[in-house]
C-alpha cells in the first residue's frame, strides 16, 4: 500500500525460500481444483512478489481463470468445485480466514464490466463500503472523487455522478469497476481478462492504470493477449492443460523461454 515498499523492491534480492518472506504477496503450494471429477488445474505452485504484475497466459481452457478465482475463494459459489492445496496471502494461510475477509484484501476485476445496474456512478464507487457498512456519510464525496481519480475516470464523469452506471461506455464501466474495487482498499487485485471486452483505446487506458497501480497493489492478470502480458507484466506464467508449464520474468519468457512448449505457444504455433 505504501511507497516505501516499492523503493525496497528495486534493490532486487534473490528469492529467499524462507517461510516469512516480506515480499511475498501470494504463494500457492500444490493448488489443484476439480469440477466434479474433472481436473481443472493440477498442483500449481506459484509465487507472486509484492507490488508486481504477474500475467497468466495460455490457451482457452487451460485453467487460468480457475487459478485466479481460487485466490479469492470464488469457487465457494460453485458447489461442484473442490480445491486442494494451500494458498498464502501475505504469508497467511487463507484457510484460517473467512472468504469475506480474504476478498476485502484481494479484489477482483472481471472480464465483462459488471457495474451494479440499479446504482448510479457515485453509488457504484462506494458500493463495497456501503454494503460492508463501513461508510461515513461525511467522507463519501471525498472517497468517490479520490477513487475515480485513481481509476482516471473522474474527469469524464465528474458532472454526471448521479447518472446510472450503465450510461457509461464499456471502457468507462470497466474503469468504474476498478474504482469500485480499489475503494475497499485491497492489497492485491486479480484481473480476469480485464480488457478482452474493450476497444484498443480503452485497453490502453486500463493498461496504463495497471502500470500506475504497481506502486500500490500486487496484481495478477489473466490475459489472452500476449502483447499485453509482455507490455505490462513483470512475471509471466504459462499454463497449459491445467498445469503450470513455465513461470519466469516476462522479459526472459518472451525472449528466451526455458520450455519448448512455451516457445511454441508464444510464437503462435498453437493456441
Amino acid at each position: 500500500m505504501t511507497g516505501e515498499d516499492t523503493v525496497k523492491l528495486e534493490t532486487e534480492e534473490l528469492d529467499k525460500e524462507t517461510e516469512k518472506d516480506s515480499k511475498s504477496a501470494i504463494r500457492t503450494i500444490d493448488l489443484s481444483v476439480y469440477f466434479d471429477e474433472r481436473i481443472a488445474i493440477d498442483k500449481i505452485s506459484l509465487k507472486v512478489k509484492k507490488n508486481t504484475i504477474t500475467a497468466i497466459i495460455g490457451p482457452s481452457g487451460c485453467g487460468k481463470s480457475t487459478f485466479l478465482r481460487s485466490l479469492n475463494l470464488m469457487h465457494e459459489m460453485t458447489p461442484k468445485a473442490r480445491v486442494f492445496g494451500e494458498i498464502f496471502i501475505q504469508n497467511e494461510n487463507i484457510s484460517e480466514y473467512s472468504s469475506v475477509d480474504i476478498r476485502k484484501k484481494v479484489g477482483m476485476v472481471f472480464q465483462k464490466p459488471n457495474p451494479f445496474p440499479m446504482m448510479s456512478i457515485y453509488e457504484n464507487v462506494i458500493s463495497g463500503l456501503r454494503l460492508n457498512g463501513l461508510s461515513k456519510n461525511s467522507v463519501l464525496d471525498e472517497l468517490v472523487e479520490k477513487n475515480l481519480k485513481y481509476a482516471s475516470l473522474w474527469e469524464e464523469v465528474k458532472d454526471r455522478l448521479k447518472l446510472p452506471a450503465l450510461s457509461l461506455s464499456g471502457g468507462q464501466q470497466q474503469r468504474l469497476c476498478i474504482a469500485r474495487t480499489i475503494a475497499v482498499k485491497p492489497e492485491i487485485i486479480l484481473m480476469d481478462e480485464p480488457t478482452s471486452a474493450l476497444d484498443p483505446i480503452s485497453t490502453a487506458k486500463i493498461e496504463e492504470l495497471m502500470y500506475n497501480f504497481k506502486n500500490h497493489y500486487t496484481m495478477v492478470v489473466v490475459t489472452h493477449n500476449m502483447q499485453q502480458a509482455a507490455r505490462v507484466s513483470d512475471q509471466t506464467a504459462f499454463f497449459y492443460l491445467g498445469k503450470l508449464i513455465e513461470c519466469s520474468k516476462t522479459k526472459r519468457m518472451f525472449t528466451n523461454p526455458k520450455v519448448k512448449l512455451t516457445e511454441e505457444y508464444i510464437t503462435g504455433k498453437f493456441g
Binding site: G107, F116, S127, P164, T181
Partner: protein, 288 residues
C-alpha cells in the same frame, strides 16, 4: 451479387412472402383476441356499474331488501383488510421461499419447495378455502377476517414464490460475483444486490397475486363468511366485495343487481388503480 441473385427462386419467394403475411395476420388476430375480453369487461362493467355508483356506495352500509340506496362501504373496507392480512402472510413467505429456491437451488429442500409450490398453484381456490376452514375457522369456532386473510395469503404464496425465483435467476451471476469480490457477505449480496436488481419484476408478481386474491370469492365463502354490518375486528366475520357481489348477483332483486354491478366496477377499478400506483412508485429510474 450475381450469385445471390441466382439463389432466389421467384416462386419460392412468393410463397414465403405469403406465408409471412398470413403468420403476421394470425399474430395480430391473437393479440386482438387477448385484448378484446378485457376491453369488453371494462366497458360492460363501467356501463352497468357506474350508473348505480354514488357517494352512498362508498359510505353507506347495505340496506335491507326493499329499501332503495345503501352502499358497500363495509365490503370495501373488509376487502382491504382481507387483502392486507393475506399480503402479510403471502408476501414474506413467498419472497423468502423464492429467494431460497433461486439462491440455494442445489439443495434437496429447495427441490421439494419448488415442486410443492407448483402443485399449490394448481389447487382450486375453494379447496384452499376448505383448508383455511379446517385450520383456522374450526379451532377458533367462528368465521373471521383472519381465516379469510389466511386463505388469501396461501393463495398468493405460489405466485409470489415463482416470480421471485424467476426474477432472481434472471440477475446475471456476474453481479453476484462482483459483490462477493468486494468482500460483501453472501446474504447481503442476495438482499442488497440480487433482490434489489430483481425488485421491479418481483413487485409486478406481488401485484398479480394481490389482484387475483382481491377478486377471489370461493375461498372466502366459509372463512370470512360476509357480513351486512360494519365490522373491522379481524376475529369476526367480515364483508368482502366479491362475496357481496356474489350474494347480490344471485338475488332476485333488481336494486341488488345494480349494486352488484357497481361493486364489480369498483373492484376492477381498485385493482387497476393499485396496479398503476405501484408501477409508478417502483418505476425503475435507471432502466426505463
Amino acid at each position: 451479387m450475381r450469385e445471390s441473385y441466382i439463389l432466389i427462386n421467384p416462386s419460392n419467394l412468393m410463397r414465403r412472402k405469403i406465408v409471412n403475411k398470413v403468420m403476421i395476420a394470425l399474430c395480430v388476430l391473437a393479440g386482438v383476441i387477448t385484448i378484446l375480453p378485457l376491453l369488453y369487461i371494462f366497458f360492460y362493467t363501467t356501463q352497468s356499474g357506474i350508473s348505480s355508483l354514488n357517494l352512498d356506495f362508498f359510505t353507506q352500509l347495505p340496506k335491507p331488501v326493499g329499501e332503495e340506496g345503501g352502499g358497500m362501504a363495509n365490503a370495501i373496507v373488509g376487502s382491504l383488510i382481507l387483502i392486507g392480512i393475506g399480503a402479510l402472510i403471502g408476501i414474506p413467505v413467498g419472497i423468502l421461499s423464492g429467494i431460497y429456491i433461486s439462491e440455494y437451488s442445489k439443495s434437496f429442500i429447495a427441490t421439494i419447495i419448488k415442486f410443492t409450490t407448483d402443485i399449490l398453484s394448481g389447487v382450486p381456490s375453494i379447496v384452499i378455502g376448505i383448508f383455511a376452514y379446517g385450520v383456522v375457522v374450526i379451532p377458533m369456532q367462528r368465521f373471521s377476517a383472519l381465516a379469510g386473510g389466511f386463505a388469501l395469503g396461501i393463495l398468493m404464496i405460489p405466485t409470489i414464490t415463482k416470480i421471485t425465483e424467476e426474477m432472481m435467476k434472471l440477475v446475471p451471476q456476474s453481479l453476484r460475483e462482483a459483490s462477493l469480490a468486494l468482500g460483501v457477505s453472501r446474504w447481503k449480496t442476495t438482499l442488497r444486490i440480487v433482490l434489489t436488481t430483481a425488485s421491479s419484476g418481483i413487485i409486478t408478481g406481488i401485484l398479480l397475486a394481490i389482484a387475483r386474491a382481491a377478486g377471489e370469492t370461493a375461498p372466502l365463502l366459509f372463512t370470512a363468511f360476509g357480513n351486512t354490518f360494519w365490522q373491522t375486528n379481524i376475529d369476526e366475520p367480515i364483508a368482502a366485495l366479491p362475496l357481496q357481489i356474489f350474494i347480490y348477483a344471485i338475488s332476485p332483486y333488481d336494486s341488488w343487481h345494480r349494486q352488484a354491478w357497481a361493486g364489480a366496477f369498483v373492484l376492477i377499478f381498485l385493482v387497476f388503480i393499485v396496479n398503476l400506483m405501484v408501477r409508478y412508485v417502483t418505476r425503475n429510474k435507471f432502466t426505463s
